[in-house]
């Protein structure tokens, strides 16, 4: 069984480079048919909401929305930290396709099952 690649994104519009890099890693992994998850935490959870990623474009990279679309189309999963989403008022109704709100236990479970992680 292939190793899950779990890439952590903690930033949103306030740091476009840190917002983009986890999705680049996830997108490469998903394109190689590796199970891939981008875990959104802290301000990064906003990326899971409709319309938020549009306009995030760090010079030298593809626009974030394009990378997310490619990532999801290749089977990548977007996990939004529930503990981070709740105080920001983010619910399932706000999420983009491919995104879901997850619990800390789900993240720990993925890691305990052998996911390789990287954070930005």
């Amino acid at each position: 069984m292939a190793t899950t690649i779990l890439s952590n994104c903690t930033c949103g519009k306030e740091d476009p480079e840190r917002a983009t890099l986890p999705f680049i890693v996830g997108n490469v992994a998903a394109s190689a048919e590796q199970p891939a998850i981008v875990l959104l935490t802290i301000e990064g959870v906003w990326i899971a909401t409709k319309g938020y990623a549009e306009g995030i474009h760090k010079e030298g990279f593809q626009p974030l929305k394009e990378i997310i679309d490619s990532f999801v189309a290749s089977g990548g999963q977007i996990w939004a930290c529930g503990a981070c989403a709740k105080p920001r008022g983010i619910t399932d109704a706000h999420l983009i396709p491919g995104a879901r709100i997850v619990t800390a236990a789900m993240v720990v479970e993925a890691m305990a099952k052998g996911a390789s992680t990287i954070g930005f």
Binding site: I24, V25, N27, V28, A29, A30, S31, A32, E33, Q34, G60, F61, Q62, S70, S74
Partner: protein
């Protein structure tokens, strides 16, 4: 690496950098049949390492590399894998 194989399709990837190239290769390979070869043209220094690593991960095969002028221009030949039964 063997001699240059006949390619079923060509991907002009000049200017594409780290992280953008490999998902595009994957997209083009999806349009081909198992065993078909995709020719990828790149002018990026890191393409060789990126394609080598990505083919190892994905199970497709990097079967040939042809260097062009000026360096680091090159053509990479990737054979689409055959699904396992």
């Amino acid at each position: 690496m063997s001699q240059t194989p006949a390619s079923a399709a060509t991907l002009d990837a000049y200017g594409l950098t780290c992280g953008a190239l490999e998902p595009l290769i994957a997209r083009r390979l999806r349009e081909l049949a198992p065993g078909d070869v995709l020719e990828i043209r790149s002018d990026q220094e890191e393409a060789a390492d990126g394609i080598r690593a990505w083919t190892w991960l994905s199970g497709h095969a990097l079967v040939a590399i042809e260097q062009d002028d000026p360096a680091p221009r090159a053509r990479y030949y990737v054979r689409k894998k055959t699904p396992q039964p």
